[in-house]
């Protein structure tokens, strides 16, 4: 046989290699110049019928899960988890799966545009040169204190670049915000850690190694912090150890998706979570014969039980569970933190953990590893800071506002008056890829690439035990005439010249990223290291990031967590309605999924509603109010009114109504626009002690409108509810 390998054989080998090793790229910096183009103009690495796989980072939320995107002939076909990335270990959530529908979304902003007027969809297309000139002018013709940047939670490399840029021109540092961060109450968690442990950082809850989890409202299987990693933890909790199945109790006013997986659901009255935690703490201390620590000494079990609408027996039963567990873990989160006493709740939960001595132990509470390239965890702005920012805009001091990666017009409570404040800003430049509400209220939209067309990195805030920098690279050539915002800013900086040009003297985005990565190339405990930056970058692309192989979680000292005193009052509520209002992030849709048709059509895990917003009302309450399924009700709080269809939900407290956040867009493309209602419209700007939005602190009234609008449900109502309902 001829020993020479023919081209055909080579392709065969290459194909098999590509398929089995999954990742085939990162061939040096040259790949920067590789264009990935459709079939007619076959570029390198592209063979007919063979797929090419690129490692990148999911940008659907800021958790930083690694993705492997399958591409073929210049088209991205399928996003799957990157098995190497410690955050998600090859797994993804539903949003990650549908990220391609964002990439190929028919409503993307295809070109840089200048609006006729704010709010108008009529816009004139621009070319990128003039767009860069607009940015350069905005940066150079305004005084530094007249310039503001509002950024999303992802991507981090752009945030770093903008931080450098603002530093160079002397403007205020960019402010970061995201709806998920808002509903996660990150500031509260960080504040609680520093309150109780005397150490800054985002708490890390080691669910996987615990054997009993008490979750106080934490929706950790849905959108909270790093859902894929936490779901893996949950999986380990249940089946990780063949000898025992971890037990899980959820405390919340309605059964959420997370609550649905709990062994016990304790429907505590909203606002009394802290009381319950403290009461349990006291009972645990009593059960374990520990001298009652100061933290729990004020707790009155009977009063707490009465206030929380939970029986004393239940509390005792829960306390005995917690006391006898080998590795008990309590997690604060969700609506429990979004109340006026949210910080107290978080503190109390951490104290409860301290009581059973699981701080810094397996199955206990840690502080999340600090990501590479950063000194500490920098949380996004809480509502207090956003409110200050809005006030700043209102004052008219800001002349130009740059917005990237966030949609505050939709996400912030309307009562904050952001739209009004934005009208005081002379020039608003959005870098949004999608025609969202904020982009609609801006003068210019200079669309950034979609996350899958972009370079970048994301500093992983939490979820895994190691310090992770998730890397992003384009998997296809930009599908539309978009431009990386980093490149726009860098080009503008060069146009402006001066110190700015010399500080940001990078040829392009990748050069900037490389400059940042260069500090990592010889870190000793890295997953890989390299002698020089180009090789390092290649590996960075190939593996989809860089991370340490060691356990980088910080084990804080319990300090005097148990010596804190708590006041034992329940939370305060705004408004004089009859019902507690519980907004929650739609588990599937989250804050930005509404423009993806497959996410819209993916049933909500608890209600199975698709394509719309629903209001959850207890059957008894509904009967009282004469409301049936699909009746449209108007919900009024002190901040506003929204209308939505009712889902008579059997697993919610009768004094509470709940509504998912994620729909109710006024813009954002054909799949999102005009669909459902936005519960943020009902929220006031009241905050908890840590400055986070007290989103669950409203009391609302519910009124039947007489209209009916059928909710689209996956479940057959006939078979699940009513006299024919099955179990």
């Amino acid at each position: 046989m001829d020993k020479k390998i023919s081209r055909r054989d080579f392709l065969k080998v290459a194909g098999v290699g590509a398929a089995t090793t999954a990742v085939l790229t990162g061939c040096g910096p040259a790949s920067r110049y590789v264009t990935r183009q459709p079939y007619t103009k076959m570029p390198e690495y592209t063979y007919n019928g063979l797929s090419t796989y690129y490692a990148t980072t999911c940008r659907e939320c800021s958790a930083g899960c690694g993705l492997i995107v399958r591409t073929m002939q210049g088209r991205a076909l399928k996003a799957e988890g990157n098995q190497n990335n410690p955050v998600n270990l090859g797994k993804t959530c539903a949003r990650g799966q549908t990220t391609l529908e964002g990439l190929y979304n028919p409503d993307r902003v295809t070109d840089p545009i200048q609006r006729d007027s704010r709010g108008s969809t009529i816009a004139k297309k621009m070319d990128w040169n003039s767009a860069i000139q607009v940015v350069a002018d905005a940066l150079s013709k305004n005084k530094p204190d007249e310039i503001a940047f509002l950024m999303g939670l992802a991507p981090d490399h752009l945030f770093d670049l903008v931080t450098d840029l603002t530093k160079a021109i002397g403007a205020a540092a960019p402010i970061r915000f995201g709806a998920l961060g808002m509903f996660e109450a990150r500031a509260t968690l960080v504040q609680a850690a520093s309150d109780m442990f005397g150490q800054e950082g985002l708490p890390f809850f080691d669910i996987g190694n615990a054997d009993l989890v008490f979750s106080f409202g934490a929706n950790f299987l849905e959108t909270w912090l790093s859902p894929v990693a936490q779901t893996r933890g949950y999986s380990q909790l249940r089946r990780g150890n063949p000898n025992r199945r971890g037990y899980f109790v959820q405390f919340e006013p309605r059964i959420s998706q997370t609550g649905a997986k709990a062994d016990e659901w304790i429907p505590v009255k909203p606002g009394t979570e802290a009381l319950v935690v403290l009461a349990i703490g006291r009972l645990v201390a009593e059960a374990n014969n520990i001298t009652l620590p100061t933290a729990f000494s004020n707790a009155d079990v009977n009063a707490a039980a009465a206030a929380a609408d939970v029986s004393v027996d239940t509390l005792k039963h829960l306390a005995s569970l917690f006391a006898s567990a080998r590795r008990p873990l309590a997690i604060p989160g969700g609506a429990a933190l979004g109340e006026s006493n949210g910080l107290q709740t978080a503190d109390a939960v951490l104290a409860l953990n301290a009581l059973v001595g699981n701080i810094g132990k397996d199955g206990g509470v840690f502080l999340s590893p600090v990501a590479p390239l950063t000194d500490a965890y920098h949380r996004p702005a809480n509502l207090k800071e956003m409110s200050d920012f809005v006030d700043l805009l209102k004052s008219g001091k800001i002349k130009v506002l740059f917005v990237h990666g966030v949609n505050p017009v939709f996400e912030l409570p309307k009562s904050l008056g952001l739209e009004d404040a934005m009208s005081k800003v002379l020039q608003i430049i959005s870098f949004s890829s999608f025609p969202d509400e904020t982009a609609l209220q801006s003068d210019y939209v200079f669309p950034d690439h979609h996350g899958l067309e972009s370079w970048g990195y994301q500093k992983v805030a939490t979820g895994t035990s190691s310090s992770v920098l998730s890397g992003a690279q384009p998997v296809i050539v930009p599908f539309f005439n978009t431009k990386a915002t980093a490149d726009v800013l860098l080009a503008a900086a060069q146009k402006i010249g001066g110190t700015l040009a010399s500080t940001l003297k990078f040829t392009d985005e990748l050069a900037y990223i490389q400059s940042k990565l260069s500090t990592l190339i010889s870190e000793p405990d890295g997953f890989f290291s390299a002698p020089e930056i180009n090789t390092f970058t290649a590996s960075f692309q190939q593996y989809g990031g860089w991370w340490k192989t060691t356990d980088n979680r910080v084990a804080p000292s319990a300090g005097d967590a148990l010596n804190k005193t708590f006041n034992t009052s329940a939370a305060q509520f705004n408004g004089d309605g009859d019902y507690f209002f519980l907004p929650f992030v739609a588990p599937v849709m989250a804050e930005a999924g509404a423009n993806k048709p497959h996410l819209q059509e993916t049933a909500d895990p608890t209600t199975t509603v698709m394509w719309n917003t629903w209001v959850e009302i207890n059957p008894d309450t509904a009967k009282q109010l004469g409301i049936q399924d699909d009746d449209v009700v108007s919900i009024t709080s002190s901040a506003g009114t929204v209308e939505a269809s009712v889902y008579v939900y059997p697993a919610i407290r009768p004094d509470t109504i709940a509504m998912p956040f994620g729909q109710g867009h006024a813009a954002y493309g054909q799949f999102a626009q005009g669909r459902g209602a936005n519960p943020a419209d009902l929220l006031s700007n009241s905050t908890n002690e840590a400055g986070d939005l007290a989103f669950a602190s409203m009391k609302v009234s519910v009124k039947k409108t007489g209209k009916k609008r059928q909710l689209s449900r996956l479940e057959g109502v006939l078979g699940v509810y009513g006299k024919f309902g099955q179990q």
Partner: protein
Amino acid sequence: MSAIAKALPNLRPEEMEDPKEHLMHDPLPRGEMNRMVLESMHTTTWKYWTVVTILAFLVVTCLGYAWYYLIMQGLGVSGDNRPVYWGVFLVNFVYWIGISHSGTLTSAILRVLKIESRRPFTRVAELMTAFAIVNAGLSIFMHMGRVWLAYWLIPYPNERGIWPDFHSPLMWDFMAITTYLICSSLYLYLPLIPDLAMVRDRSKGWVKTFYKIFAIGFRGTEGEWKNLHLAMNIFAFAIIPVAFSVHTIVAWDFAMATRPGWSSSVLGPYFVAGALLSGVAAVPIVLFFVRSTMKNMKYFLRPEHFDTVGKMLLIISMGWAYFYFNDYIVPWYAGDKWEKILTLFIEAGPQAWLWYLMLFCNIVVPWSVLWRKKWRQTPWLMAIVGILINVGMYTERYIIVPEMSTINRMPFTWHIYIPRVEVILTIGTFALFLLLYFAASRILPLIPNWEVQEGQEGHILRKIGKAKIPTISQID
């Protein structure tokens, strides 16, 4: 002789029914009958044309356009969903197959049993059969997701190298319905040939050409009659099991599925009983309308014929009730979880009124009306009973198809079915049926004159004692 006289001891002559009430004993010359039938065919009023125009319009829009729309858009415009994959199209299918049992089966059974009063109305019923099968076939085609590939069900050597699968009840159905359509059309046609020859002999011009072609040169020679008679006998005997098999197989389409409600071994005979009920009930409706709207028909179609049909209806209704009870009690007693829910759903679910309507129309109405001869002989009352029974039977099919398929073993998928474009198409099929019937009533002789005359020749009145007693001779 004296025995018969003793059987009627107390009847005074005025109490006895007039033997002339019977068509067979009220003979007219054949030429006169021919003239009457021809006159009924040739008489059209503006009312007739108005109705035909309306029907034609309905056929074009409700059937033609709506179906085009359905094909182009896909079944999304229908009301089918998961789990109700089979909706009103299948209801229509079963219903029309049921109606088709009216003619062929009634006329065949009556012919085999030599029930003499069948003679004038067999054709009226057989025509229904033919048109009902057309509608049944159309309903199946409407039901198919890719109707343009329907020919894949035909077993013929093809380039695709793949044949239909005879494991499937649908293939049995396909074969059975094909057989039934062909055979019942021939069965309609066979006794029609002499009548077509009669019309041929009495028409001119292109009309004559038309009838000439379809009378296929029939004269009435001894050999022709003999062959015709034998063929008709073969048909009459053979088509009864075929008709039974057709509706049994229709039932098997459902019964073979592993679904609660459908999976029942009594479904076959139950469907046959149902088909007979709706089919026979359709006869008085048509008889009534033909009799009251067409010329000279009061001579041919008489209360005695309604009486015959009424008696059959009463028996069939009881038979249907018997089978329904069978189908009902067995799962009810067994207490299978899903069957129980299904029963509850049908009787107390959101569409429970259909169930009560069905029982009212199929049991209460016939049982309370048809026991009385006088009422049986009242044509308009019989027409109303027929209509109600048909409503009841349509309801029954609706309960069996979409309602029963709502309940399955996966309660998470239970969605209620609401028909959409099906309603329009159903109107269209009914309009087509009527239109065909209207057309046929002016193209084909509705009365098989030769059979009537044959009967009349064989019937005689004899005076026994004081009364004239109808008797029948054996000249057949």
